[in-house]
Amino acid sequence: MTDQVGAEPTATGRLGSRYAVRSGWQVATLVGRRAESPSAATLVLDVPGWPGHQPGQHVDLRLTAGDGYTAERSYSLASAPDGSGRIEVTVQRVVDGEVSPYLVDSFPVGSAVEVRGPVGGWFVWDPARDAGTPVLLLAGGSGLVPLMAMARARRDAGDRTPFRLICSVRTDQDQLYADEVAGLAARGDGFEARTIFTRAVSLTALRGPRRLTDSELAAWGWPPELEPRVYVCGPTGFVETVSRMLVAQGHDPSRVRTERFGPAGG
């Protein structure tokens, strides 16, 4: 392939060049960290020469220990591309994980990490290409991260593609970007959002703690006749259940894109 480290990708019509991953690793610097929940943090990384990305893509991080041991993980990009060379990933702490507790709790601001990417070209929504067709976003837990990149890109582009977002989280403590999601829904530009809680709810809640039901999905999503683009991201149980419901409701499987994270990892 023709990609070289540090070279800007050339704009050609080939799918392969549009999606090709830039070879090699480059050094990025952690310039900020924001707590998003008791168990998740957003890392702001400065990546000189970042080529830009499509919302929904991920990035590989490589950590190097003092003895040369390295660990690599993929994280979804949370930020919309803004041409700044600055990217954000939101990392959920995995209990007993090798990498995520370090990134969430210990990784010092100002220090370096190697990055490679962007990676992935299927689970993406790009306002420049995909605007107009209604979009349904379904997030289980931290599966919201790549979907948030799509919602942010829509906002930043001033795009008015009808978006509906359904977030499923255990408790209100586990919500990511809650204020920002509420702000997106308050803009009156065709973005709707619902959040359901599966484990615990406040005493005044109208809905008990339970998983997303078939009728809620039908009421809060788009009817299949509208032929929406559907993105489902979360733990595999969530993705399996929700994508099965979508197909049973009449959504064409080819319009349902999924991204899953396994029981371990992290």
Partner: protein, 206 residues
């Protein structure tokens, strides 16, 4: 000045990682996973064994098909293999049962060097024929002594454990022989055409 070193710089202060696996054959950039994560690009297709079939088509257009009963009537093998996912987990000692591609392709007339494997649900992946023959690939229908779960590709998936696991197409239904290589689903999206984990061929250009 210090001498150039083979050891990469300690870029991430305070990061120690897990105790290093000892005497374990782990490809570069991988970690050991005890669970069996699920990765697929869309909904899990609902394919019953009663309707399942596998069709092999040659570059001349000749095709051969096997029903579920046909597959079960062929000689079965029980490989125990390590598997490596491009998302960086590796799982050791997985136990499968299935039919070797050597058996299925034995009488197929072809000089093609490449194959496109197709799945129920529309997934495709390309492989060299050389990586499908010689006891390296199976059509697997049983995992850990039980029928292969639909999430993991049941009723039957391709199993090519020496390549990254996206090559082991779930819900396999077709194998089309090709004189020249063409990219499949992930390969068109930037992933490697061969995908050898030992050479860390994750993405195009690796």
């Amino acid at each position: 000045m210090t001498e150039p070193s083979e050891v990469p710089p300690a870029l991430t202060p305070g990061f120690h990682g897990r105790p290093r696996p000892d005497g374990v054959a782990l490809p570069p950039g991988q970690y050991v996973e005890d669970g069996f994560p699920v990765l697929s690009a869309g909904p899990t297709p609902n394919v019953g064994a009663a309707t399942w079939s596998l069709t092999v088509t040659t570059e001349a257009g000749a095709s051969t098909s096997w029903t579920w009963a046909d597959l079960m009537a062929l000689p079965q093998e029980t490989p125990t293999v390590d598997i490596h996912c491009v998302t960086r987990w590796s799982k050791f000692g997985t136990r499968w049962k299935g039919v070797s591609l050597d058996v299925l392709l034995a009488d197929v007339e072809s000089t093609a060097d490449f194959a496109m494997v197709g799945s129920y649900g529309g997934y495709t992946t390309n492989l060299p024929v050389a990586d499908l023959l010689g006891g390296k690939a199976w059509i697997a229908h049983t995992f850990d002594g039980k029928p292969l779960h639909p999430e993991h590709g049941g009723p039957a998936r391709l199993l090519v454990p020496h390549l990254y696991f996206w090559k082991s197409a779930k819900w396999v239904r077709s194998l089309t022989l090709m004189p020249t290589d063409k990219p499949g689903f992930w390969e068109r999206l930037g992933y490697h055409d061969l995908g050898d984990p030992w050479r860390e061929q994750r993405y195009q250009g690796d």
